[in-house]
Symmetry: C2
Subunit: 290 residues, 2 copies
Amino acid sequence: MDSLQGKTVTIVGLGLMGGSLALALRDCSVRLVAVEPDAATRERALAQGLVDNATADLASGVSGADLVVLAAPVGAILDLLPAVAAACPDSCTILDLGSTKGAVVAAMDRLPAGTQAVGGHPMCGKEMAGLAAAEADLYVGQTFFLCRSARTSPEAEATVEALVAAAGAQPWWIEPEEHDRLVALVSHMPYFAAAALMAEAAAVATAGEQVWRAAAGGFRDTSRLAGSEPRMIGDIARTNRAAILEALRSYQSRVGEVIALLESDDDGALSAWLAARQREHAEYRQAKGS
Amino acid sequence: MDSLQGKTVTIVGLGLMGGSLALALRDCSVRLVAVEPDAATRERALAQGLVDNATADLASGVSGADLVVLAAPVGAILDLLPAVAAACPDSCTILDLGSTKGAVVAAMDRLPAGTQAVGGHPMCGKEMAGLAAAEADLYVGQTFFLCRSARTSPEAEATVEALVAAAGAQPWWIEPEEHDRLVALVSHMPYFAAAALMAEAAAVATAGEQVWRAAAGGFRDTSRLAGSEPRMIGDIARTNRAAILEALRSYQSRVGEVIALLESDDDGALSAWLAARQREHAEYRQAKGS
């Protein structure tokens, strides 16, 4: 399937990710169906003309789908996969948007032969959740990881690539293990670093200091990820524990190096360390084209 | 001085902070003089009509000033203070914009009697430096810390409050020690947390992993402060070492708690920890009115 035109796409979960995907697909001549347990969210999506049909019933929602997108936390995706595989047509492709891929792709491998399933992870989002936070251009220009499972045919690959293109994202086919190791470093560990920062600042604020009044743009950005959905992060931690722990232990050592550096009172070493970080930041921004 | 109208304001250093202040004051009917060692920056500022006069000579630049603003890293401020006090008129007020206040205010205390000097620290900035990065609204709505020294008269207080108002910022009179403790927590420690994150990610990138390609918005924000000017951060570290070390040691313990939590495999404790961080983030954002 080189294009989604005329196809039926069922999005399971109309939160930030599913809702933003629906917004991005609205002008692509696809029939959009939502499976969403919350009645108010279903009504809102129908009233806005965001989807053509919305139901709380998974089996009926996926029964006519060419592509089913599971836009839910990883734990929910693992629960949903067998039921979706049982209820969707044989020709249908299942794609998930979960934040970790090892456990999901392993679950896809165990689906009945003939099922088409691809692991996906768009590298976009924000700390706000829910359909109200959805944006049509959330995926535009962002990396969209894709992982083949034992249940991925060339046709299923083409279908999910068509979806990624329609959303404006950049596909990156990757092995689940490499994905999970990379996102542990660039996403999960930074979440825990931000959350530890928030815990420390909040403890001092609770002790009576005017921390929030003093906090400015630097604190805002460095702590932003602490606002992430606990359920999403909990599922990430449960399904990528080893890689996150490895990254966090290395990070803790780096913080220890900083402490030793400041304790040493070695001005030359400090200056070199600070300059190296600025240089790395510039290299990183240059690699991102900004 | 309730208003700066008709007064001469000399800004020493036309970088991001000094340049943005000049932009903010351009429509306030003040005479603006810049002391800036870089000839190209002086020419650019004059060509843009940003300042009425620009010189590399400190003594002549401050000789007719009603208010001198030292917009430089803390080390340079400490070097500049005696010379500025010697060259400026008796009625002139000296304000610095340095990131730490203990050492600067102590240096102000040692200036000759009759000098008027106030410690200042606007809580704004970005990881880009230089006049080219300056913005007229950089100070708007931001906290502007002010510290009385032994050389601060009521008139000097009124003068710097007029400047803060003209820049659109919010004044916060504070003791230097409380300032340095608070910014160690909300600004300096977050810098080192971001820089340690950058060090870790860059080390893995150098080892051959496609780290930058995988990095998205979460990494971008959490690591942003790593791009800060080494000279500025070095001066901060040298003049606020004890408070930064205390904050970093507490932070390292928090990271250790996270590691122990993930190692424990205790789902209930993890969920509670994640929910507490999201709640604290919401409380912080509410305190900031967003």
